[in-house]
């Protein structure tokens, strides 16, 4: 072995030269309402000329577990493997996107070799429109309405409506039983000073994590213009 060969050999083992290639670095998954977890596999292959070792896979969230298939962390050139991502849905609705950082042996802590993305779409079955009702300080203390629409295979009834304080009153109006409701909110003490109340809306939906919804009623000063 001459000096040049030796130098290339040394360069060859510099961390980060080898890398894993993922078939699909970004995966979208649609969750069913009954799901507690969503699992997807990220397939990869070592297309480099050196063996690589996965030292860490982290999504920065206890909600997303990442496992390397078969507990195998080292991959020879040409070898393939799988990273399995398991997302716990918890109480979230709508789209949640999580990044999964993958570190190979020798990667600096602040720069993982690869970042994968997992997007999970969790159906929204009770929709509040608008989410917040606003009044201006000194403005008319008129009643305003939050519209509640249900998008589910079964009827969903609103079982109670309450405000978090006595600045506002909230009255439930049934537009179509099990399908469509309104909450009429009125600042019962006028609009002389700023304030906020949470409007808590309870339903009988059989999806526990979506049973309680909330809207807001706020009396505020006019917003200042910012750049």
């Amino acid at each position: 072995m001459n000096a040049l060969t030796l130098a290339f050999f040394l360069l060859g083992i510099i961390p980060g030269v080898a890398a894993l290639e993922f078939e699909t670095p970004s995966i979208e998954a649609k969750a069913d309402l009954s799901d507690k977890v969503v699992t997807r596999d990220f397939k990869f292959r070592n297309n480099g000329k050196e063996a690589v070792k996965i030292t860490q896979a982290d999504a920065g969230c206890s909600c997303l577990a990442v496992q390397v298939g078969g507990g195998k962390f080292s991959y020879a050139p040409g070898e393939s493997g799988v990273l399995r991502a398991t997302f716990e849905l918890g109480s979230f609705q709508g789209t949640v996107e999580k990044k999964i950082n993958i570190w190979l042996e020798g990667d600096p802590e602040e720069k993982p070799s690869t970042t994968l993305t997992m997007s999970v779409l969790i159906p929204v079955i009770i929709k509040l429109e608008p989410k917040s009702l606003k009044w201006q300080v000194g403005g008319p203390a008129e009643a305003k309405v939050i519209d509640i629409g249900m998008d589910y295979s079964k009827l969903i009834h609103v079982t109670s409506v309450a405000t978090s304080n006595d600045l506002f009153t909230a009255k439930l109006i049934t537009v179509e039983e099990g399908k469509h409701y309104q909450v009429e909110v009125t600042p019962q003490k006028g609009t002389d000073s700023a304030g906020l109340a949470i409007i808590r809306i309870e339903t009988d939906v059989d999806v526990a994590k979506q049973r309680v919804q909330q809207g807001f009623a706020v009396i505020s000063k006019p917003l200042k213009k910012t750049k």
Binding site: M1, N2, A3, L6, A7, L10, G60, C61, S62, C63, F87, E88, L89, G90, S91, F92, Q93, G94, T95, V96, E97, K98, K99, N101, E110, T115, T117, P130, K131, S132, K134, A194, G195, L196, I198, V212, Q214, F216, V218, S220, K221, L223, K224, T226
Partner: protein, 156 residues
């Protein structure tokens, strides 16, 4: 010259070069502070230098990170499904109603992405207060104390 001798020569030359660099330029310096280039801002982002006024900070990192070194007064809202989203949402709503002129969301790093999703959820509340994500995330805040607007190191 055999391979072992060649390796020895390379190691010696490398050590000599490293030593000379140390003598001329001194020991390694602290990592450079995050520099925000306004030309690199994407929609809805803001540089730390442009954050001013009555600001509501929203920490989109994990609860443990928020507890460890979250900014003074920052409210936690992340995408951990184990958290109570209604409670986090209410906390931010109350912070905005408390008179915030600007909401700034930060997460762990520029690559994190969670702050943009949280910012969209806050905009969706419909309060009308401007909502921005901090360019650079925590990288831009590191070492600036509990309140980067005053460089205060005091806790909440």
């Amino acid at each position: 010259m055999n391979a072992v001798s060649q390796l020895g020569v390379i190691v010696l030359v490398s050590l000599a070069a490293a030593g000379a660099t140390w003598l001329v330029k001194g020991p390694p310096s602290e990592p450079a502070a995050f520099v925000c280039d306004p030309a690199q801002l994407t929609e809805g982002e803001i540089c730390l230098a442009d954050v001013s006024g009555n600001v509501l900070w929203v920490d989109a990192r994990t609860r443990s990170e928020w507890k460890r070194n979250g900014l003074e007064g920052a409210i936690l809202w992340n995408l951990d499904p184990k958290e109570d989203e209604n409670a986090m949402e209410a906390g931010v709503a109350m912070g905005i109603a408390g008179g915030a002129e600007l909401v700034v969301v930060y997460c762990g790093s520029e690559a994190c992405g969670t702050s943009k999703q949280i910012a969209n959820r806050i905009r969706g509340l419909g309060f009308g207060t401007p909502v921005k994500t901090l360019h650079g995330g925590w990288d831009a805040l590191k070492g600036l104390g509990r309140n980067p607007l005053t460089n205060s190191s005091s806790g909440p």
